[in-house]
Amino acid sequence: MTENYFEVLRPGINTTFQDNGRKNFYHIGIPFSGAMDNRNFVIANALLDNKKNNPVIEFALQGPKLRFKGDKVYFNVTGDVNFQILRKNKIEEGVCYQNIVLENNDCLDLISTNRSVYGYLSVNASFKIDFYLDSCSVNTKAEIGANNGKILEKNQIIEIENITKKYSLNKLDYINSKIENIRVIKGPHFDYFSKTAKELFFKEKFSVTKLTDRMGIRLDGPKIENIKNTNIKSEGLVKGTIQITADGNPIIMLSDHGTIGGYPKIGVVISADYDKLVQIPPGSKIKFKEINLKDAEIIYKLYEMETQNLISKTK
């Protein structure tokens, strides 16, 4: 039997193993985690006819550079990613949403994401990694998941097993649309804020700061004035919750967020906009748009239909 593995020549900034995350552990302080951009995670596996929840490598901004050792493996990259394949004597420009072969000693250089944050690398195989509470998803704060709950490190080896014979050669034409408007449902503490603050919140633009990671996005913009209390008794949070900290700035909870928090919740980003929200890179501006629950539910159905439609196009 041939040994197949990746050698990590460059780990990238924040490269982790992810699947669709863990359920039912909020009450002991463990968030979902899982791939930040769910649609791109799902498509990455669909293209290779993998199981829906097959673990992938998620990278942020700068991805890893990997050398493949072994027989051969097919992979694809999803997201909006600039990458190259370095074969014996030539450099090949990579195309996202397309299955590509890697042979012994070929290198895959996931150089960077374009005006976005997260990209995904999927292979027609499984990575030899540990699962914790039914998920491989790495949560670096709780040090759980694959790779001892840590990001990839230089020179480590990623073993590959169960390479499938069957893979689809199909490629998918898909463009990650970029958005600036994020739709939000008002939160339980909306009335903690002054009339002016509430208007500003839905009128002005906010900048995504560098203090942004898998736990949350910190925004900077007009200060949102609290007229009631800048603290609440700590209570549960969900992905997409927008809290206003004591200094008047919004923070949006993302997939690795702390499970409880003590700042008032002004709103929650709708589920259909979450994948696009996480892809907004630091330095960009975003604007919140108010929407009601019924409309959010309809928009989610459309989002899910579009995802299913994309999956069927990969077959």
């Binding site: 914790y132 449902i185 008794k233 209570e235 409880i260």
Partner: protein
């Protein structure tokens, strides 16, 4: 009981039990939490109890707000489920190396450290909730004379397994983490065991905690 149910975004239920923080209201929250856990309502993916709120997250591909709200309202309750909190004994070493804020507390509370520890160790504490970081228990209530505000400038790194106090609460930092609670000691027990793949956290909402003091040599022995 639940005073109001509203939506938290499009994929969660926000159950409000009022604004007070006390054991009675929190026991109701935990009772609901355990009943909902047992009821296996389709589509529920996370339930987060806290002092006086319960948040129920659900999968929008399976259900929606109206459906879950009706199911929660029609739930058939079995009160006895709630009364199964365990009693857990936690050793604490209060050596000066670990009691990072004991001098600050002596000044703030106008008490000698012996008195602070005597009061602290003589009570049992109730676990209101677990979370923020994995496994961190929020315990209460402290003796009135031990109420102290948070540090003016939070520590960047509170050592793992430190015991902290603020207002009427105490907690245990299950991981090294930023934090502003007054640190009075450290336990050699792992509050969250990231190698345990079935029940990694030692303390669950509704449990009762009794702390007892150990010497530094006992602490070091338990660490080996």
């Amino acid at each position: 009981m639940i005073k109001n149910i509203s939506n938290l975004g499009d994929a969660a239920l926000y159950c409000d039990f009022g604004n007070d923080v006390n054991k009675e209201i929190n026991s109701n929250v935990i009772q609901f939490f355990k009943n909902i856990q047992k009821s296996k309502i389709p589509g529920v993916i996370n339930i987060t109890p806290s002092y006086n709120k319960l948040i129920i997250s659900f999968d929008l591909n399976i259900t929606n707000f109206d459906k879950i709200k009706t199911e929660v309202e029609q739930l058939n309750f079995k009160n006895e489920i709630a009364n199964v909190g365990k009693l857990i004994k936690i050793p604490v070493c209060c050596d000066n190396d670990f009691a990072l804020d004991i001098k600050r507390l002596e000044k703030l509370l106008k008490l000698e450290k012996e008195e602070i520890y005597k009061k602290f160790f003589s009570k049992k504490y109730y676990c209101y909730m677990t979370g923020f970081i994995a496994g961190m228990p929020f315990l209460g209530d402290l003796d009135d004379s031990l109420y102290a505000r948070r540090l003016d400038t939070p520590r960047v790194k509170v050592p793992r397994n430190s015991i902290g106090l603020t207002e009427q609460f105490c907690n245990i930092y299950s991981f090294e983490s930023p934090g502003g609670w007054n640190i009075i000691g450290k336990t050699p027990l792992d509050i969250f065991d990231n190698k345990n793949n079935s029940s990694p956290n030692l303390i669950n909402p509704g449990d009762t905690i009794s702390f007892f003091q150990i010497s530094k040599s006992e602490f070091e022995k338990k660490y080996d």
